[in-house]
């Protein structure tokens, strides 16, 4: 137990934990936005955009994350792109994860019958409306499981940032090892926060349908003044 309360170790681990959470959250946000955009590119009718999406996914999904970090930290500064190691870490992790988000969304989109998009287009919906109002809501159910895997993996992947001057959890581990603490103890106190983060992400995804439904009810309740609120019966019919 001593390890936690000596020599400011608690502060070291706490700061590492917060840094990991911040890095993961920012990278997740970037990955979600960019991944959705890339998925839209990949199913869009514009060949240039489709090609861009394909190249991105191929490049970032097949390059080891460590190499991406290396490239970000050592190559970009030579091209006069100067960010903090933390920013480089967010970009590398976000760009990498975006490729996976894109592919999860795209395979989800492919499970929705083509006729749904044709019906939407024939009503005069734009590409964006078709995707947002008709395709993605129907893809959501099949996407949820694989998407949760992607975002559970993200905080774990963020550990690589520790090797590139970001003072996150994994680097706290290196510091503690240098101080000569027993490896089993260190492992426990470093693994526990990672477990906590991943488990929280897993729980979030597990309850996402309920959270979204509740949010939807709230919005409809506010917008449909007077008329009774109808709840979606999609789940009930499964």
């Amino acid at each position: 137990m001593d390890i936690l309360f000596e020599h400011g170790n608690f502060a070291l681990l706490r700061d590492g934990f917060l840094q990991t959470v911040e890095l993961s959250a920012l990278a997740a946000l970037l990955a979600l936005l960019l991944g959705t955009l890339l998925a839209a590119f990949r199913v869009s009718p514009v060949p240039v955009l489709r090609a861009f999406g394909t190249v991105w996914v191929t490049a970032f999904r097949n390059t080891p994350l460590t190499l991406l970090f290396l490239a970000a930290v050592f190559t970009l500064p030579r091209l006069d792109v100067r960010f903090s190691p933390f920013t480089f870490a967010v970009l590398a992790l976000g760009f990498y994860t975006a490729a996976f988000v894109c592919e999860v969304l795209r395979s989800g989109i492919n499970t929705v019958p083509l006729g749904q998009a044709e019906a939407a287009r024939s009503l005069g919906m734009t590409f964006g409306q078709t995707l947002r109002l008709v395709i993605l809501p129907q893809a959501a159910k099949t996407v949820l499981g694989p998407m949760s895997s992607v975002f559970i993996a993200l905080p774990r992947n963020s550990a690589i940032a520790g090797a590139f001057s970001v003072a996150e959890l994994f680097q706290a581990q290196a510091t503690l090892t240098d101080l000569g603490y027993p490896i089993a103890l260190i492992f426990f106190w470093v693994a526990l926060p990672y477990l906590t983060i991943s488990a929280s992400v897993g729980l979030l995804f597990h309850y996402l349908p309920q959270i979204v439904a509740a949010g939807g009810r709230l919005v409809r309740g506010l917008s449909e003044r007077g008329t009774p609120v109808r709840t979606e019966t999609v789940e009930a019919n499964q």
Binding site: P45, A119, S122, L123, V234
Partner: protein
């Protein structure tokens, strides 16, 4: 047999839909070969022909679900633009009913009819709902308004699909084999809705092999084979005295079962 509701069309009025020299290939396959076609306001045209002759493709080019390689398509005097918002807007004026209904599976029946009005036409929600209920009443499925499409019979789903298309106030309605996926006992409820629509003056292009419908509601029958319009005539003349060998051959096949 129901009585004929075929309308007399005002002669000389500008045609609503014009296809001029339309060609389309799928790879090496020349699916539409030099199609020239004029459809008058209020006219009901039935497209008939063997499988693979290009009927669906022709239908789908009229609202640009398929692009064309050459030629022009004009709706109410305006040529169809290539892509983008302008095209989306014009598409809303051409209603389409599919063989497989294609109702939005995650939306209630009512929402299916409301969605396009609100998102494309920017109609206020309350007004869109009122119109949706009125249309569902008109096609006889008002009682199902709050159900999901999967809870309805095929015939009911297709009638909802017609209501959904009508909600956009289209100038012309395209039907691609609207009754082919239906059990026999449901075919008539859908054809009846279409007959009423025709009688109300809707301009319609209907791909169908339902001769009863063609005889009672169509002004003109177009017979397609190998990507060409081979023959066109009134339904009566076409079914009793087809001129081309292709049409004779085709009719003898569909009449014999």
């Amino acid at each position: 047999m129901s009585t004929s509701i075929v309308k007399d069309l005002a002669p000389g009025a500008a045609p609503l839909v014009v296809l001029d020299g339309v060609n389309k290939h799928f790879g090496a396959l020349h699916v539409l070969q030099d199609i020239n076609l004029e459809i008058a306001q209020g006219e009901v045209v039935v497209l008939i022909g063997p499988s693979g002759s290009g009927k669906s493709t022709l239908c789908r080019t009229i609202n640009r679900l398929e692009t064309v390689d050459s030629g022009t398509i004009t709706i109410d005097g305006r040529p169809l633009p290539a892509e983008g918002r302008e095209l989306a807007r014009l598409r809303a004026e051409v209603g389409m009913v599919f063989q497989s209904f294609n109702l939005f599976a995650h939306k209630t029946v009512l929402e299916n009819v409301v969605l396009g009005q609100v998102k494309v036409r920017k109609v206020p929600r309350a007004q869109a709902e009122a119109k949706a209920r009125e249309l569902l009443e008109r096609v006889g499925v008002a009682a199902q308004a709050d159900k999901l499409p999967a809870q309805l019979s095929g015939g009911q789903q297709q009638r909802v699909a017609i209501a959904r298309a009508l909600a956009m106030n289209p100038k012309v309605m395209l039907f691609d084999e609207p009754t082919s996926a239906l059990d026999p006992e449901m075919i008539n409820e859908v054809l009846e809705v279409m007959r009423n629509l025709a009688a109300d003056g809707m301009t319609m292009v209907v791909v169908t092999h339902e001769m009863g419908f063609a005889r009672s509601a169509a002004n003109r029958v177009l017979f397609m084979a190998d990507g060409r319009i081979v023959e066109e005539n009134t339904p009566e003349a076409f079914f009793t005295a087809p001129r081309s060998d292709r049409a004779k051959d085709f009719l003898s096949k569909i009449l014999h079962h």
